[in-house]
Subunit: 102 residues, 2 copies
DNA sequence: TTTTCTCATCGTATATTTGCGATAAACTAT
DNA sequence: ATAGTTTATCGCAAATATACGATGAGAAAA
């Protein structure tokens, strides 16, 4: 209960990095990102064929990646095309690289 | 319940990266790693002075980082000195760099 | 209009994470 | 032995994450 009262102040970078890390904290999301990175873009339908999880589950993972800003969806009725968000991708890359620097 | 039955096979790299990411998925753990990275090593006591969280909570976060292999503790009675695990640190660095390549 | 296709969201069950205080464990020093 | 110091673990409560099937929303095609 004191948990909600505990407001520790971290830097913006630390918070952003933690959010990116959280998005990467499940193998299937890493897998999806690798797929998107290798073949530019993807439809959800393609993913449900490649990954043995329920369509709703994959949609949830895509939502998580989207909310973290790592991917973005483009509506192409009746499908939705997902691509990496190159800008955020670079931000994430730099944050992780900074962390691991020496 | 079918959740436990669903055993999707991811690559070792994907699983390892997800585990590292999970360890980085909380701002306080990112913060701790930055501290350890900047000042070589740290005692838990130092951290409890720098971070406004209960000692038990910090100990739990250290345990998480330790189990992910990112840090290692050296017993120096009555204290424990924590340092980065350089080897694993490099592994993690490379995995993240690979993911974000191009 | 109705059907079909694709994807998102809802509702639910279970597991995991996060925080705390209290207590245990390990070692020193008295 | 006893007391003090430091860190780890336990037990709890609340929040989040993960999976599923069922259902909803939106556009295209019949």
């Amino acid at each position: 209960m004191s948990r909600a009262l505990k407001k520790v102040n971290y830097s913006e970078d630390e918070k952003q990095l933690a959010l990116f890390a959280k998005a990467l904290a499940h193998p299937v999301r890493v897998h999806i990102l690798k797929l998107l990175n290798s073949q530019s873009c993807c439809y959800t339908g393609d993913l449900t064929e490649l990954i043995p999880l329920a369509q709703s589950t994959i949609s949830q993972h895509l939502k998580a990646l989207n909310e973290a800003g790592l991917i973005q969806g483009e509506i192409m009725p009746p499908k939705v095309k997902y691509c990496l968000n190159k800008k955020k991708w670079t931000v994430a890359k730099d944050l992780f690289a900074d962390l691991f620097d020496q």
